[in-house]
Symmetry: C2
Protein backbone atom coordinates (compact mmCIF):
# COMPACT_ATOMS: atom_id res chain seq x y z
CA UNK A 1 0.00 0.00 0.00
CA UNK A 2 1.50 3.29 -1.09
CA UNK A 3 1.12 5.89 1.64
CA UNK A 4 -1.34 8.64 0.83
CA UNK A 5 -0.16 12.07 -0.13
CA UNK A 6 -0.58 14.30 2.93
CA UNK A 7 -3.02 17.03 2.00
CA UNK A 8 -4.82 20.04 3.41
CA UNK A 9 -8.43 20.33 2.26
CA UNK A 10 -10.12 23.43 3.64
CA UNK A 11 -13.76 23.27 4.77
CA UNK A 12 -14.28 26.76 3.39
CA UNK A 13 -16.69 29.04 5.20
CA UNK A 14 -19.74 30.23 3.27
CA UNK A 15 -19.97 34.04 3.14
CA UNK A 16 -23.45 35.54 3.21
CA UNK A 17 -24.62 38.80 1.65
CA UNK A 18 -26.46 41.48 3.63
CA UNK A 19 -29.78 39.84 2.68
CA UNK A 20 -28.35 36.52 3.95
CA UNK A 21 -28.24 34.93 0.51
CA UNK A 22 -25.02 33.10 -0.36
CA UNK A 23 -22.34 35.58 -1.41
CA UNK A 24 -20.83 33.88 -4.46
CA UNK A 25 -18.24 36.58 -5.11
CA UNK A 26 -16.72 36.35 -1.63
CA UNK A 27 -17.00 32.56 -1.67
CA UNK A 28 -14.92 32.39 -4.84
CA UNK A 29 -12.46 35.02 -3.60
CA UNK A 30 -11.91 33.14 -0.33
CA UNK A 31 -11.55 29.82 -2.18
CA UNK A 32 -8.91 31.25 -4.50
CA UNK A 33 -7.03 32.80 -1.60
CA UNK A 34 -6.97 29.48 0.28
CA UNK A 35 -5.54 27.64 -2.71
CA UNK A 36 -3.03 30.42 -3.33
CA UNK A 37 -1.93 30.12 0.30
CA UNK A 38 -1.10 26.46 -0.17
CA UNK A 39 -4.24 24.43 0.41
CA UNK A 40 -4.31 21.32 -1.77
CA UNK A 41 -8.04 21.56 -2.17
CA UNK A 42 -11.35 22.53 -0.62
CA UNK A 43 -14.04 20.56 1.16
CA UNK A 44 -16.77 23.21 1.00
CA UNK A 45 -20.34 22.78 2.26
CA UNK A 46 -19.46 20.84 5.38
CA UNK A 47 -20.14 21.67 9.01
CA UNK A 48 -17.88 24.76 9.16
CA UNK A 49 -19.49 26.00 5.93
CA UNK A 50 -22.95 26.11 7.54
CA UNK A 51 -24.05 23.90 4.66
CA UNK A 52 -26.76 22.34 6.77
CA UNK A 53 -28.25 25.83 7.03
CA UNK A 54 -28.49 26.02 3.21
CA UNK A 55 -31.10 24.61 0.84
CA UNK A 56 -30.20 22.08 -1.83
CA UNK A 57 -30.63 24.74 -4.53
CA UNK A 58 -28.30 27.13 -2.68
CA UNK A 59 -25.65 24.43 -2.32
CA UNK A 60 -25.78 23.53 -5.99
CA UNK A 61 -25.59 27.15 -7.09
CA UNK A 62 -22.64 27.83 -4.78
CA UNK A 63 -20.72 24.80 -6.09
CA UNK A 64 -21.36 25.95 -9.65
CA UNK A 65 -20.11 29.42 -8.71
CA UNK A 66 -16.85 27.97 -7.40
CA UNK A 67 -16.23 26.04 -10.59
CA UNK A 68 -17.30 28.91 -12.84
CA UNK A 69 -14.97 31.04 -10.71
CA UNK A 70 -12.05 28.97 -11.88
CA UNK A 71 -11.63 26.38 -9.12
CA UNK A 72 -10.64 23.01 -10.59
CA UNK A 73 -13.37 20.52 -9.61
CA UNK A 74 -10.65 17.91 -9.11
CA UNK A 75 -9.59 19.75 -5.94
CA UNK A 76 -13.14 19.95 -4.60
CA UNK A 77 -14.73 17.50 -2.19
CA UNK A 78 -18.04 19.20 -1.35
CA UNK A 79 -20.24 18.03 1.48
CA UNK A 80 -23.47 16.50 0.18
CA UNK A 81 -24.97 14.63 3.14
CA UNK A 82 -28.45 15.75 4.21
CA UNK A 83 -31.09 14.44 6.57
CA UNK A 84 -33.18 13.32 3.57
CA UNK A 85 -31.66 10.83 1.13
CA UNK A 86 -33.29 12.36 -1.97
CA UNK A 87 -31.36 15.55 -1.17
CA UNK A 88 -28.09 13.66 -0.60
CA UNK A 89 -28.58 11.85 -3.91
CA UNK A 90 -29.34 15.08 -5.78
CA UNK A 91 -26.28 16.90 -4.39
CA UNK A 92 -23.93 13.94 -4.85
CA UNK A 93 -25.04 13.38 -8.46
CA UNK A 94 -24.69 17.09 -9.20
CA UNK A 95 -21.15 17.31 -7.77
CA UNK A 96 -20.09 14.16 -9.59
CA UNK A 97 -21.52 15.44 -12.87
CA UNK A 98 -19.49 18.62 -12.39
CA UNK A 99 -16.32 16.55 -12.09
CA UNK A 100 -15.60 16.92 -8.39
CA UNK A 101 -12.88 14.70 -6.93
CA UNK A 102 -15.44 13.29 -4.52
CA UNK A 103 -18.21 14.10 -2.08
CA UNK A 104 -18.10 14.21 1.72
CA UNK A 105 -21.20 12.39 2.92
CA UNK A 106 -22.86 12.63 6.31
CA UNK A 107 -25.14 9.77 7.32
CA UNK A 108 -28.82 10.80 7.60
CA UNK A 109 -28.63 12.80 10.82
CA UNK A 110 -32.08 13.58 12.13
CA UNK A 111 -32.96 10.19 13.57
CA UNK A 112 -30.80 8.88 16.42
CA UNK A 113 -30.28 5.35 17.65
CA UNK A 114 -30.84 3.93 14.18
CA UNK A 115 -29.54 0.45 13.32
CA UNK A 116 -26.20 0.16 11.53
CA UNK A 117 -27.96 -1.86 8.83
CA UNK A 118 -30.03 1.22 8.16
CA UNK A 119 -26.98 3.50 7.93
CA UNK A 120 -25.40 1.04 5.50
CA UNK A 121 -28.62 1.00 3.49
CA UNK A 122 -28.58 4.80 3.38
CA UNK A 123 -25.06 4.98 1.93
CA UNK A 124 -25.85 2.09 -0.42
CA UNK A 125 -28.94 3.88 -1.70
CA UNK A 126 -26.98 7.07 -2.36
CA UNK A 127 -24.21 5.22 -4.22
CA UNK A 128 -26.57 3.08 -6.27
CA UNK A 129 -29.01 5.86 -7.08
CA UNK A 130 -26.24 8.23 -8.18
CA UNK A 131 -24.97 5.27 -10.19
CA UNK A 132 -21.84 6.97 -11.53
CA UNK A 133 -18.54 5.13 -11.89
CA UNK A 134 -16.64 8.31 -11.05
CA UNK A 135 -18.52 8.94 -7.79
CA UNK A 136 -15.99 9.14 -4.95
CA UNK A 137 -17.44 8.94 -1.45
CA UNK A 138 -15.65 10.33 1.60
CA UNK A 139 -17.41 9.24 4.80
CA UNK A 140 -18.07 11.98 7.33
CA UNK A 141 -17.62 10.91 10.98
CA UNK A 142 -18.89 13.70 13.22
CA UNK A 143 -21.09 11.98 15.81
CA UNK A 144 -21.19 15.05 18.08
CA UNK A 145 -23.35 16.75 15.41
CA UNK A 146 -24.82 13.92 13.35
CA UNK A 147 -25.54 11.58 16.26
CA UNK A 148 -24.65 8.70 13.92
CA UNK A 149 -21.05 7.42 14.02
CA UNK A 150 -19.19 5.88 11.07
CA UNK A 151 -18.05 2.72 12.84
CA UNK A 152 -15.18 0.52 11.62
CA UNK A 153 -17.73 -2.25 11.03
CA UNK A 154 -19.70 0.06 8.73
CA UNK A 155 -16.55 1.12 6.84
CA UNK A 156 -15.60 -2.52 6.33
CA UNK A 157 -19.01 -3.37 4.95
CA UNK A 158 -19.09 -0.35 2.64
CA UNK A 159 -15.58 -1.06 1.35
CA UNK A 160 -16.55 -4.65 0.54
CA UNK A 161 -19.68 -3.56 -1.30
CA UNK A 162 -18.27 -0.47 -3.04
CA UNK A 163 -14.48 -0.84 -3.13
CA UNK A 164 -13.85 1.67 -5.91
CA UNK A 165 -16.25 4.26 -4.58
CA UNK A 166 -15.37 4.63 -0.89
CA UNK A 167 -12.20 6.69 -1.04
CA UNK A 168 -11.77 8.42 2.29
CA UNK A 169 -13.06 9.46 5.67
CA UNK A 170 -13.08 12.68 7.60
CA UNK A 171 -12.72 12.18 11.36
CA UNK A 172 -14.24 15.19 13.07
CA UNK A 173 -14.71 13.50 16.43
CA UNK A 174 -11.16 14.36 17.33
CA UNK A 175 -10.32 11.16 19.23
CA UNK A 176 -6.96 9.99 17.96
CA UNK A 177 -7.59 6.34 18.85
CA UNK A 178 -10.47 6.22 16.37
CA UNK A 179 -8.42 7.75 13.53
CA UNK A 180 -5.46 5.49 14.32
CA UNK A 181 -7.65 2.38 14.21
CA UNK A 182 -9.38 3.42 10.98
CA UNK A 183 -6.06 4.17 9.25
CA UNK A 184 -4.60 0.85 10.39
CA UNK A 185 -7.63 -1.20 9.38
CA UNK A 186 -8.37 0.55 6.09
CA UNK A 187 -5.10 1.83 4.62
CA UNK A 188 -6.66 1.94 1.15
CA UNK A 189 -8.80 4.98 2.02
CA UNK A 190 -7.50 8.45 2.87
CA UNK A 191 -8.36 9.34 6.46
CA UNK A 192 -8.31 13.05 7.25
CA UNK A 193 -8.11 14.43 10.77
CA UNK A 194 -10.16 17.50 11.64
CA UNK A 195 -7.33 19.08 13.59
CA UNK A 196 -4.03 20.19 12.09
CA UNK A 197 -2.48 19.46 15.48
CA UNK A 198 -2.88 15.77 14.55
CA UNK A 199 -1.16 16.00 11.15
CA UNK A 200 2.15 14.59 12.35
CA UNK A 201 0.49 11.57 13.91
CA UNK A 202 -1.91 11.23 10.98
CA UNK A 203 0.95 11.24 8.47
CA UNK A 204 3.09 8.83 10.48
CA UNK A 205 0.20 6.38 10.72
CA UNK A 206 -0.52 6.51 6.98
CA UNK A 207 -3.46 8.92 6.88
CA UNK A 208 -4.33 11.51 4.26
CA UNK A 209 -3.82 14.79 6.14
CA UNK A 210 -6.40 17.17 7.48
CA UNK A 211 -9.66 18.96 6.76
CA UNK A 212 -9.71 21.55 9.50
CA UNK A 213 -11.99 24.50 10.28
CA UNK A 214 -9.07 26.68 11.35
CA UNK A 215 -7.38 26.18 7.98
CA UNK A 216 -9.74 28.92 6.80
CA UNK A 217 -7.49 31.26 8.80
CA UNK A 218 -4.12 29.52 8.85
CA UNK A 219 -3.75 27.68 5.53
CA UNK A 220 -0.17 28.79 4.94
CA UNK A 221 0.92 27.61 8.40
CA UNK A 222 -0.70 24.23 7.94
CA UNK A 223 0.79 23.82 4.48
CA UNK A 224 4.18 24.73 5.93
CA UNK A 225 3.79 21.97 8.49
CA UNK A 226 2.92 19.45 5.77
CA UNK A 227 5.97 20.52 3.75
CA UNK A 228 8.13 20.28 6.88
CA UNK A 229 7.08 16.76 7.86
CA UNK A 230 10.18 14.73 8.69
CA UNK A 231 12.49 17.75 8.49
CA UNK A 232 14.07 19.82 11.27
CA UNK A 233 11.43 22.48 10.63
CA UNK A 234 8.62 20.17 11.69
CA UNK A 235 8.59 21.06 15.40
CA UNK A 236 8.36 24.80 14.89
CA UNK A 237 5.64 24.40 12.26
CA UNK A 238 3.64 22.09 14.52
CA UNK A 239 3.98 24.57 17.38
CA UNK A 240 2.61 27.36 15.18
CA UNK A 241 -0.46 25.48 13.94
CA UNK A 242 -1.13 24.06 17.40
CA UNK A 243 -1.07 27.53 18.94
CA UNK A 244 -3.63 28.82 16.44
CA UNK A 245 -5.77 25.74 16.84
CA UNK A 246 -5.72 26.01 20.64
CA UNK A 247 -7.12 29.52 20.49
CA UNK A 248 -10.08 28.47 18.34
CA UNK A 249 -10.80 25.49 20.57
CA UNK A 250 -11.63 27.92 23.36
CA UNK A 251 -14.14 29.85 21.23
CA UNK A 252 -17.52 29.24 19.53
CA UNK A 253 -15.78 27.64 16.56
CA UNK A 254 -17.71 28.64 13.44
CA UNK A 255 -18.51 32.23 14.50
CA UNK A 256 -14.87 32.69 15.57
CA UNK A 257 -13.50 31.34 12.29
CA UNK A 258 -15.74 33.69 10.32
CA UNK A 259 -14.76 36.64 12.54
CA UNK A 260 -11.09 35.81 12.03
CA UNK A 261 -11.44 35.62 8.24
CA UNK A 262 -13.28 38.96 8.33
CA UNK A 263 -10.39 40.45 10.33
CA UNK A 264 -7.78 38.96 7.99
CA UNK A 265 -9.57 40.26 4.92
CA UNK A 266 -10.48 43.53 6.61
CA UNK A 267 -14.02 42.87 5.38
CA UNK A 268 -16.72 42.46 8.05
CA UNK A 269 -19.07 40.84 5.54
CA UNK A 270 -17.21 37.53 5.99
CA UNK A 271 -18.40 37.35 9.60
CA UNK A 272 -22.12 37.06 8.78
CA UNK A 273 -23.78 33.88 10.01
CA UNK A 274 -27.17 32.28 9.57
CA UNK A 275 -29.19 31.37 12.66
CA UNK A 276 -28.86 29.35 14.86
CA UNK A 277 -25.36 30.85 14.98
CA UNK A 278 -24.76 34.29 16.42
CA UNK A 279 -21.73 36.57 15.96
CA UNK A 280 -18.97 36.23 18.52
CA UNK A 281 -19.19 38.72 21.36
CA UNK A 282 -16.69 41.43 22.19
CA UNK A 283 -15.26 39.17 24.89
CA UNK A 284 -13.70 37.02 22.17
CA UNK A 285 -12.15 39.86 20.15
CA UNK A 286 -8.72 39.61 21.77
CA UNK A 287 -8.47 35.86 21.25
CA UNK A 288 -9.51 36.20 17.62
CA UNK A 289 -6.95 38.96 17.10
CA UNK A 290 -4.26 36.69 18.59
CA UNK A 291 -5.21 33.86 16.24
CA UNK A 292 -5.06 36.21 13.27
CA UNK A 293 -1.71 37.63 14.38
CA UNK A 294 -0.28 34.12 14.77
CA UNK A 295 -1.57 33.15 11.32
CA UNK A 296 -0.04 36.12 9.57
CA UNK A 297 -1.80 37.20 6.42
CA UNK A 298 -3.13 33.66 6.25
CA UNK A 299 -5.19 33.61 3.14
CA UNK A 300 -3.88 36.71 1.41
CA UNK A 301 -3.26 35.76 -2.17
Amino acid sequence: MTPHKIELYVPAITPFAADMSVDHARLVAHARALLAAGAHGLAPFGTTSEANSMSVAERMAALEALIEGGIDPQVLIPGTGCAALPDTVALSAHATRLGCRGVLVLPPFYYKGVPEDGVFAAFAQVIETVGAADLGVYLYHIPQMSGVPITPALIERLLKAYPGTIRGLKDSAGKWDYARDVIAAFPEIATYSASEAMIVKNAAAGGGGCISASSNVNPAGIRALIDALGTPAEDAALAQVSAVRAIFEGLPLIPAIKAAVAAQQDDPAYARLRPPFMPTGAEHADAIARAVALSGDGVAA
Copy 2:
Protein backbone atom coordinates in the same frame (compact mmCIF):
# COMPACT_ATOMS: atom_id res chain seq x y z
CA MET B 1 -57.96 31.66 30.54
CA THR B 2 -60.41 29.21 29.00
CA PRO B 3 -59.06 25.68 29.15
CA HIS B 4 -58.03 24.27 25.80
CA LYS B 5 -60.15 21.69 24.09
CA ILE B 6 -58.47 18.31 24.62
CA GLU B 7 -57.59 16.97 21.21
CA LEU B 8 -55.90 14.07 19.50
CA TYR B 9 -53.73 15.08 16.55
CA VAL B 10 -52.16 12.09 14.82
CA PRO B 11 -48.56 12.31 13.52
CA ALA B 12 -49.60 10.20 10.55
CA ILE B 13 -47.07 7.80 9.11
CA THR B 14 -45.95 8.38 5.52
CA PRO B 15 -46.55 5.31 3.34
CA PHE B 16 -44.01 4.65 0.59
CA ALA B 17 -44.59 2.95 -2.78
CA ALA B 18 -42.48 0.05 -3.99
CA ASP B 19 -40.08 2.50 -5.65
CA MET B 20 -39.85 4.35 -2.28
CA SER B 21 -41.63 7.44 -3.57
CA VAL B 22 -44.36 8.83 -1.29
CA ASP B 23 -47.57 6.83 -1.71
CA HIS B 24 -50.20 9.55 -1.88
CA ALA B 25 -53.14 7.19 -2.21
CA ARG B 26 -52.31 5.28 0.97
CA LEU B 27 -51.40 8.51 2.79
CA VAL B 28 -54.86 9.92 2.06
CA ALA B 29 -56.59 6.65 2.88
CA HIS B 30 -54.81 6.41 6.23
CA ALA B 31 -55.55 10.08 7.01
CA ARG B 32 -59.25 9.60 6.30
CA ALA B 33 -59.36 6.46 8.41
CA LEU B 34 -57.70 8.23 11.36
CA LEU B 35 -60.22 11.07 11.27
CA ALA B 36 -63.11 8.63 10.87
CA ALA B 37 -61.85 6.77 13.93
CA GLY B 38 -62.12 9.92 16.03
CA ALA B 39 -58.88 11.87 15.65
CA HIS B 40 -59.53 15.61 15.85
CA GLY B 41 -56.82 16.31 13.32
CA LEU B 42 -53.46 15.30 11.90
CA ALA B 43 -49.94 16.49 12.50
CA PRO B 44 -48.34 14.86 9.45
CA PHE B 45 -44.69 15.22 8.42
CA GLY B 46 -43.25 15.04 11.90
CA THR B 47 -40.76 12.59 13.37
CA THR B 48 -43.04 9.53 13.15
CA SER B 49 -43.85 10.46 9.55
CA GLU B 50 -40.18 10.17 8.51
CA ALA B 51 -40.56 13.73 7.22
CA ASN B 52 -36.90 14.41 7.81
CA SER B 53 -36.21 11.65 5.29
CA MET B 54 -38.23 13.51 2.65
CA SER B 55 -37.26 16.40 0.39
CA VAL B 56 -39.05 19.74 0.53
CA ALA B 57 -40.76 19.02 -2.79
CA GLU B 58 -41.97 15.63 -1.54
CA ARG B 59 -43.38 17.22 1.63
CA MET B 60 -45.24 19.91 -0.32
CA ALA B 61 -46.69 17.41 -2.77
CA ALA B 62 -47.83 15.12 0.03
CA LEU B 63 -49.55 17.97 1.89
CA GLU B 64 -51.30 18.98 -1.32
CA ALA B 65 -52.40 15.37 -1.83
CA LEU B 66 -53.98 15.30 1.63
CA ILE B 67 -55.96 18.46 0.98
CA GLU B 68 -56.92 17.43 -2.55
CA GLY B 69 -57.96 14.13 -0.98
CA GLY B 70 -60.58 15.93 1.04
CA ILE B 71 -58.83 16.57 4.37
CA ASP B 72 -59.85 19.98 5.77
CA PRO B 73 -56.64 22.02 6.13
CA GLN B 74 -58.04 23.44 9.36
CA VAL B 75 -57.41 20.06 11.01
CA LEU B 76 -53.84 19.84 9.70
CA ILE B 77 -50.73 20.93 11.61
CA PRO B 78 -47.93 19.67 9.33
CA GLY B 79 -44.33 19.56 10.45
CA THR B 80 -42.23 22.10 8.57
CA GLY B 81 -38.99 22.38 10.57
CA CYS B 82 -35.81 21.55 8.66
CA ALA B 83 -32.10 21.90 9.31
CA ALA B 84 -31.95 24.77 6.81
CA LEU B 85 -34.11 27.84 7.44
CA PRO B 86 -34.87 28.48 3.75
CA ASP B 87 -36.53 25.05 3.70
CA THR B 88 -38.47 25.74 6.91
CA VAL B 89 -39.64 29.05 5.50
CA ALA B 90 -40.71 27.49 2.20
CA LEU B 91 -42.68 24.69 3.87
CA SER B 92 -44.28 26.98 6.48
CA ALA B 93 -45.35 29.52 3.86
CA HIS B 94 -46.75 26.74 1.66
CA ALA B 95 -48.78 25.17 4.48
CA THR B 96 -50.10 28.55 5.58
CA ARG B 97 -51.08 29.44 2.03
CA LEU B 98 -53.01 26.18 1.84
CA GLY B 99 -54.99 27.16 4.92
CA CYS B 100 -53.50 24.80 7.48
CA ARG B 101 -54.41 25.39 11.13
CA GLY B 102 -50.73 25.77 11.91
CA VAL B 103 -47.27 24.33 11.43
CA LEU B 104 -45.20 22.23 13.83
CA VAL B 105 -41.69 23.68 13.74
CA LEU B 106 -38.47 22.02 14.81
CA PRO B 107 -35.54 24.30 15.63
CA PRO B 108 -32.63 23.97 13.16
CA PHE B 109 -31.31 20.60 14.25
CA TYR B 110 -27.94 19.89 12.69
CA TYR B 111 -25.78 22.11 14.87
CA LYS B 112 -25.63 21.32 18.58
CA GLY B 113 -24.71 23.52 21.51
CA VAL B 114 -25.97 26.63 19.74
CA PRO B 115 -26.89 29.73 21.77
CA GLU B 116 -30.50 30.30 22.71
CA ASP B 117 -30.29 33.73 21.06
CA GLY B 118 -29.60 31.88 17.83
CA VAL B 119 -32.57 29.55 18.25
CA PHE B 120 -34.78 32.57 18.91
CA ALA B 121 -33.36 34.24 15.80
CA ALA B 122 -34.15 31.14 13.78
CA PHE B 123 -37.83 31.09 14.78
CA ALA B 124 -38.02 34.88 14.35
CA GLN B 125 -36.62 34.62 10.85
CA VAL B 126 -39.15 31.94 9.89
CA ILE B 127 -42.08 33.95 11.27
CA GLU B 128 -40.98 37.23 9.74
CA THR B 129 -40.01 35.78 6.38
CA VAL B 130 -43.28 33.88 6.04
CA GLY B 131 -44.92 37.16 7.07
CA ALA B 132 -48.48 35.88 7.10
CA ALA B 133 -50.99 36.98 9.75
CA ASP B 134 -52.61 33.55 9.70
CA LEU B 135 -49.34 31.66 10.34
CA GLY B 136 -49.78 29.55 13.48
CA VAL B 137 -46.56 28.15 14.96
CA TYR B 138 -46.50 25.09 17.20
CA LEU B 139 -43.05 24.65 18.76
CA TYR B 140 -41.58 21.16 18.56
CA HIS B 141 -39.65 20.06 21.67
CA ILE B 142 -37.86 16.80 20.90
CA PRO B 143 -34.29 17.27 22.15
CA GLN B 144 -33.49 13.55 21.93
CA MET B 145 -33.63 13.94 18.12
CA SER B 146 -33.10 17.64 17.46
CA GLY B 147 -30.42 18.19 20.10
CA VAL B 148 -31.95 21.65 20.64
CA PRO B 149 -34.52 21.99 23.45
CA ILE B 150 -37.41 24.48 23.46
CA THR B 151 -36.74 25.99 26.89
CA PRO B 152 -39.32 27.93 28.92
CA ALA B 153 -37.11 31.03 28.53
CA LEU B 154 -37.29 30.66 24.73
CA ILE B 155 -41.07 30.19 24.78
CA GLU B 156 -41.46 33.30 26.92
CA ARG B 157 -39.38 35.36 24.54
CA LEU B 158 -41.19 34.08 21.44
CA LEU B 159 -44.60 34.69 23.03
CA LYS B 160 -43.64 38.26 23.83
CA ALA B 161 -42.39 38.90 20.31
CA TYR B 162 -45.08 36.98 18.40
CA PRO B 163 -48.09 36.61 20.72
CA GLY B 164 -50.65 35.86 18.03
CA THR B 165 -48.45 33.47 16.12
CA ILE B 166 -47.09 31.08 18.75
CA ARG B 167 -50.07 28.85 19.41
CA GLY B 168 -48.86 25.61 20.85
CA LEU B 169 -46.07 23.20 21.69
CA LYS B 170 -45.54 19.51 21.24
CA ASP B 171 -43.57 17.91 24.05
CA SER B 172 -41.93 14.79 22.69
CA ALA B 173 -39.31 14.51 25.42
CA GLY B 174 -41.80 12.67 27.59
CA LYS B 175 -40.78 14.17 30.92
CA TRP B 176 -43.97 15.21 32.68
CA ASP B 177 -42.30 17.91 34.79
CA TYR B 178 -41.40 19.84 31.63
CA ALA B 179 -44.95 19.68 30.23
CA ARG B 180 -46.44 20.61 33.59
CA ASP B 181 -44.18 23.66 33.91
CA VAL B 182 -44.84 24.80 30.34
CA ILE B 183 -48.61 24.47 30.74
CA ALA B 184 -48.51 26.37 34.05
CA ALA B 185 -46.29 29.15 32.73
CA PHE B 186 -47.91 29.54 29.31
CA PRO B 187 -51.60 28.65 29.61
CA GLU B 188 -52.38 30.64 26.46
CA ILE B 189 -50.73 28.06 24.19
CA ALA B 190 -51.92 24.49 23.66
CA THR B 191 -49.34 22.04 24.96
CA TYR B 192 -49.61 18.52 23.56
CA SER B 193 -48.00 15.50 25.16
CA ALA B 194 -46.44 12.87 22.93
CA SER B 195 -47.86 10.00 24.96
CA GLU B 196 -51.55 9.26 25.32
CA ALA B 197 -50.72 7.80 28.74
CA MET B 198 -50.26 11.44 29.86
CA ILE B 199 -53.62 12.70 28.58
CA VAL B 200 -55.34 12.65 31.97
CA LYS B 201 -52.54 14.66 33.58
CA ASN B 202 -52.25 16.92 30.53
CA ALA B 203 -55.97 17.70 30.58
CA ALA B 204 -56.09 18.26 34.35
CA ALA B 205 -53.17 20.69 34.10
CA GLY B 206 -54.78 22.67 31.26
CA GLY B 207 -52.93 21.27 28.27
CA GLY B 208 -54.21 20.63 24.76
CA GLY B 209 -54.15 16.83 24.54
CA CYS B 210 -51.75 14.62 22.64
CA ILE B 211 -49.90 14.11 19.38
CA SER B 212 -48.78 10.52 19.72
CA ALA B 213 -47.05 8.06 17.38
CA SER B 214 -49.18 5.17 18.60
CA SER B 215 -52.36 7.04 17.70
CA ASN B 216 -51.66 5.81 14.17
CA VAL B 217 -52.71 2.40 15.50
CA ASN B 218 -55.07 3.19 18.39
CA PRO B 219 -56.92 6.41 17.47
CA ALA B 220 -60.33 5.13 18.56
CA GLY B 221 -59.01 4.10 21.97
CA ILE B 222 -57.34 7.46 22.53
CA ARG B 223 -60.45 9.34 21.41
CA ALA B 224 -62.49 7.17 23.79
CA LEU B 225 -60.19 8.22 26.63
CA ILE B 226 -60.60 11.90 25.73
CA ASP B 227 -64.39 11.49 25.64
CA ALA B 228 -64.28 9.66 28.98
CA LEU B 229 -62.21 12.28 30.85
CA GLY B 230 -63.83 12.96 34.22
CA THR B 231 -66.37 10.15 33.83
CA PRO B 232 -66.41 6.68 35.43
CA ALA B 233 -65.17 5.27 32.09
CA GLU B 234 -61.88 7.16 32.36
CA ASP B 235 -59.90 4.49 34.22
CA ALA B 236 -60.70 1.70 31.80
CA ALA B 237 -59.96 3.89 28.80
CA LEU B 238 -56.65 5.00 30.28
CA ALA B 239 -55.73 1.38 30.98
CA GLN B 240 -56.43 0.46 27.34
CA VAL B 241 -54.34 3.23 25.80
CA SER B 242 -51.54 2.73 28.32
CA ALA B 243 -51.36 -0.98 27.53
CA VAL B 244 -50.98 -0.28 23.79
CA ARG B 245 -48.47 2.47 24.43
CA ALA B 246 -46.38 0.26 26.73
CA ILE B 247 -45.99 -2.34 23.99
CA PHE B 248 -44.67 0.21 21.49
CA GLU B 249 -42.26 1.66 24.04
CA GLY B 250 -40.46 -1.68 24.05
CA LEU B 251 -40.01 -1.71 20.26
CA PRO B 252 -38.19 0.31 17.55
CA LEU B 253 -41.00 2.87 17.52
CA ILE B 254 -41.44 4.03 13.93
CA PRO B 255 -40.85 0.63 12.27
CA ALA B 256 -43.21 -0.98 14.79
CA ILE B 257 -45.95 1.61 14.23
CA LYS B 258 -45.73 1.08 10.47
CA ALA B 259 -45.77 -2.71 10.88
CA ALA B 260 -48.85 -2.42 13.11
CA VAL B 261 -50.71 -0.22 10.62
CA ALA B 262 -49.81 -2.71 7.88
CA ALA B 263 -51.25 -5.52 10.01
CA GLN B 264 -54.40 -3.55 10.82
CA GLN B 265 -54.97 -2.68 7.16
CA ASP B 266 -53.89 -6.13 6.01
CA ASP B 267 -51.64 -4.30 3.54
CA PRO B 268 -47.87 -4.86 3.90
CA ALA B 269 -47.16 -1.76 1.81
CA TYR B 270 -47.76 0.41 4.88
CA ALA B 271 -44.70 -1.11 6.57
CA ARG B 272 -42.16 0.24 4.06
CA LEU B 273 -39.52 2.56 5.55
CA ARG B 274 -36.78 4.74 4.15
CA PRO B 275 -33.22 4.27 5.41
CA PRO B 276 -31.87 4.73 8.04
CA PHE B 277 -34.86 2.78 9.35
CA MET B 278 -35.15 -0.95 8.82
CA PRO B 279 -38.24 -3.16 9.07
CA THR B 280 -38.92 -4.72 12.45
CA GLY B 281 -37.57 -8.24 12.83
CA ALA B 282 -39.59 -11.40 13.35
CA GLU B 283 -38.77 -11.19 17.04
CA HIS B 284 -41.18 -8.26 17.37
CA ALA B 285 -44.09 -9.86 15.49
CA ASP B 286 -45.86 -11.13 18.62
CA ALA B 287 -45.64 -7.76 20.40
CA ILE B 288 -46.98 -5.96 17.33
CA ALA B 289 -49.82 -8.46 17.02
CA ARG B 290 -50.71 -7.84 20.69
CA ALA B 291 -50.75 -4.06 20.16
CA VAL B 292 -53.02 -4.52 17.14
CA ALA B 293 -55.32 -6.89 19.02
CA LEU B 294 -55.59 -4.42 21.92
CA SER B 295 -56.35 -1.58 19.49
CA GLY B 296 -59.16 -3.41 17.76
CA ASP B 297 -59.81 -2.36 14.19
CA GLY B 298 -58.17 0.91 15.16
CA VAL B 299 -58.26 2.94 12.02
CA ALA B 300 -60.88 1.04 10.04
CA ALA B 301 -63.20 3.66 8.62
